[in-house]
Each structure stands twice: as structure tokens, then as C-alpha cells.
Symmetry: none
Subunit: 245 residues, 2 copies
């Protein structure tokens, strides 16, 4: 789990991103995952007023900084990581998958600034920009034999990388699961259900399906919440009333 | 690790996505992670020729299918999962984080078709669309106190979700899960159940409990196996026969 202080130490550096909407989409992903430090390396200025794709991330754009060179942009960082599409260039760096590299970035951010570099959508990071990186990280993409390597747009790539950085392997449902029905309530439901199978003639036609243990198991498999169990009881009572009436 | 066959069983369903570039970006993310089955639910046709954002994913767009309703789009699916921004609506479904829900989708895809639903960027999935879902999944976003909940664009949200589905992990399914009922079977069960609520007078006494979306959600919460769903259909038909007789 990254603290807010750690998130503030991880900066996203966009090298030669030219499309304001791509920059805006990156800012939006940063905002969504709690990152704030956006740095732009460009040899000419890009008008961020056109970055309508930023939506709620206008604060991040307003505080973003322009730099003329990669060296200037990352001068304060203790770890510099480049992102790349695998198979694109000859390998001169150690390349980690996203899941492999993210813990290293989290560790670095515990003690000092770390930079995550993204290149332009068309050409990626240049060899010069890559030469500033300690190692590289790649999003594992699906390989179709004979087909050009797939890629994502800049906003998507940033979203996936930042998601992995904050990812928690939490497997329990969010929020409050509804309170389960009691065994007593389930048993009343089971008895009522069994009596309906008799009353409708189903038990005579399909004895195996109306076996009391099978009926009990069937009801238990539903994993009913208390409110659902009570509603089902109400409905079954109404059905019984209708049938006997 | 998802096999190619499993990836082909997971379909992405976009409900009321209107912007061709958003649809194209989703197709691009699918292509990048090896998914192929894109289904579009719209009450009017969207020109996919304008989806320039698809880049290498033109095959996926060419093979995508239009449906008039959510029910039609997911009829063959044994698991239907909605995506949502947490905190947006009152909670009527179990909500998993992405990391919590992905293993359940992988398990389902081992034996049959599974659907992952995305709503429009502006409004998300409607309550009617959500009522078709067994449970919901959300991308955990950073909460800034007092600030409107962050969100991502549709292409980013799809990329992050699909990345999590193919992300390498050591999780292995616990035993073999029974094959789930198809959405078509569950919808038949829903209709039969709704007609019983009318026929018994329950709908008149408790209109809220007989609301069609609420009935649909109630049935989806049961997570019925195929064999159980068929048995329930048989029992409900018997009840209907008894009531009308």
C-alpha cells in the first residue's frame, strides 16, 4: 500500500508527448490513482488548455512543469524507470514486467523521488531518453504470431502502470456484504419449499428433486442474505395461500 | 494464466457507448491483451469507421456485434459482471475490487462464456443494465476528501480491467466449479418468477419487491448453477400450472 507521501514522490515524465488530449488522459489517470507530479519534456510548448480529456485533473495540469531535457526533468530522482514495448529495440537494459518492476518502484518511493518515463505514442522513448533509465518496465501484451506488436495509447499505458503501482491484492468484497440468513430462517424456508413441492405435485413427478436433504442443500447453495431470505419466505407464503385458496 | 481459448470466452460488452474513439480505444486494449469478442448495445448504430483510435484492432471492430438490449447481448454468458465507480449508487450488488473479481472471471472463463459490462462514460451502467449482473467490479480509485470521485475514460478503464485479467499471478482456482446457468436461462427464470408474483397477488401487496429490476437482481444474486437453474425452472412451471389449474 503506497502512502500519500510515497505517491507524491513518484513523478510521471512524458517525453515529447504532443497531443494535449493524451497528456490530459495521463493526468486523469494520475488523479484517479492519487499521483500528483507530472513533468513534461518538450522542445516546444504544448497548450494544455486544449487537454479537455483531463476532466477532474486540471489541478495536476496546472501544477505540471515543462523541462527542455530529460536530464533536467529527472535531476532530483533517485530511481529512473523507462517504459517500453518489448521486442521493439535491442535490449540494453534489464526489462521487468509491470508486476515485477512495481515493487521496486514502491520501495524506492519510500525514501526518495522516483520517475516513470513515457515516450511519445508513435516512437516511444528515444535511445537518448532510455539512457537515463536504470531499468525498463513493460506492460505484457499478447503476441499474435506474424502480427505487429500491439500497443496502447498513452493514457491507457499510464493508467495500467499506475494501477499496478497502487494495486492491492485485496480479494474480499468492498463494502459491507449483506448479513446472511440464519440457519433457522433457512430451515423454515426449506420446510415451506418442501411443502410447496408436495402441494403442486412436483414431488410426485420428480421424487429425487423433492428429497428433503436435496431440498435443504438447494436452499443452502443460494447463500441468501437475511433480507432476501425474508422476502423469499413472504413470497412462498403467498404462493401457498394462493394454492390452497 | 489465461489460455487463448479462455480469452476468447470473455466478451466485453459496451452499453450505450456513443463515441467511436472510445469504442476504438477499448478494441485496442482488447487486442493488446488478446481478447477478441466485442459486443455493443445501442439503440442506434454507431459508425465504427470513425474509430481511428483502434489502430491495430480493426479486426475486433469488424467482428464486433450490435445488440438492441443487454439481455440479447449476454444471453449465452454464464457469468455477467458489471463495472462501476464505487460510491456512485446505493449498493444492491456485491462489489469486488478488480484484483478480487478477476480470479472469479478467470474461473468462469475456464468452462463457459463470461461478459464484462461497461457503461457510457457519462452515466455508467443504468440500474436496468446492472440488474443483469451477478456482481460488480470496481477499479479502486484514490479518494480525496471533499472532491468528486475520480474516474477514467472508457479506454483506460477497459485497459486496466483487461490487464488485471491477464496479469500473471500464482492464484489457482480451488477445485472445479459447477458450470453456471446462462444469462438466457436466468432471464427465463426471472420472467417466470415475475409472472408468479403477479399471479399470486404478491406484486399487488408488495410492489417494491416485484419491481422487474429488483426481481432480476434477486435471481442473479443466487449464482445458480446450470443444473440448479433448470430444476428451478421445472419447479416454477409446476407452481404456475398448479395456480392456473
Amino acid at each position: 500500500m503506497l502512502t500519500d507521501a510515497e505517491r507524491s514522490r513518484i513523478c510521471v515524465v512524458l517525453v515529447r508527448a504532443r497531443n494535449p488530449n493524451n497528456i490530459g488522459a495521463v493526468a486523469r489517470a494520475m488523479h484517479g490513482f492519487g499521483f500528483t507530479d507530472l513533468r513534461l519534456v518538450n522542445d516546444y510548448s504544448v497548450s494544455l488548455e486544449k487537454a479537455r480529456s483531463a476532466i477532474d485533473a486540471s489541478d495536476i495540469l496546472a501544477r505540471s512543469r515543462f523541462f527542455a531535457t530529460v536530464a533536467d526533468a529527472i535531476a532530483d530522482c533517485r530511481l529512473v524507470v523507462g517504459t517500453t514495448a518489448v521486442g521493439k529495440r535491442k535490449q540494453e537494459h534489464t526489462i521487468y514486467t509491470l508486476a515485477g518492476g512495481a515493487p521496486l518502484i514502491r520501495n524506492a518511493a519510500a525514501s526518495g523521488p522516483a520517475a516513470l518515463l513515457f515516450g511519445s505514442e508513435k516512437t516511444g522513448l528515444s535511445n537518448q531518453a532510455l539512457s537515463h533509465c536504470q531499468w525498463l518496465m513493460t506492460i505484457p501484451m499478447h503476441q499474435t504470431p506474424g502480427v505487429r506488436h500491439a500497443s496502447m495509447n498513452l493514457g491507457q499505458a499510464a493508467a495500467v502502470c499506475l494501477y499496478e503501482l497502487v494495486r492491492e491484492s485485496q480479494e474480499t468484497p468492498l463494502g459491507i456484504l449483506p448479513s446472511g440468513a440464519t440457519a433457522g430462517e433457512l430451515e423454515r424456508l426449506t420446510e415451506l419449499w418442501g411443502s410447496l413441492l408436495d402441494a403442486t405435485g412436483y414431488a410426485q413427478r420428480r421424487p429425487a428433486g423433492a428429497d428433503p436433504d436435496e431440498v435443504r442443500r438447494t436452499i443452502r447453495r443460494l447463500n441468501l442474505s437475511q433480507s432476501d431470505a425474508r422476502r423469499w419466505l413472504g413470497i412462498l407464503r403467498q404462493i401457498r395461500w394462493k394454492i390452497s385458496g
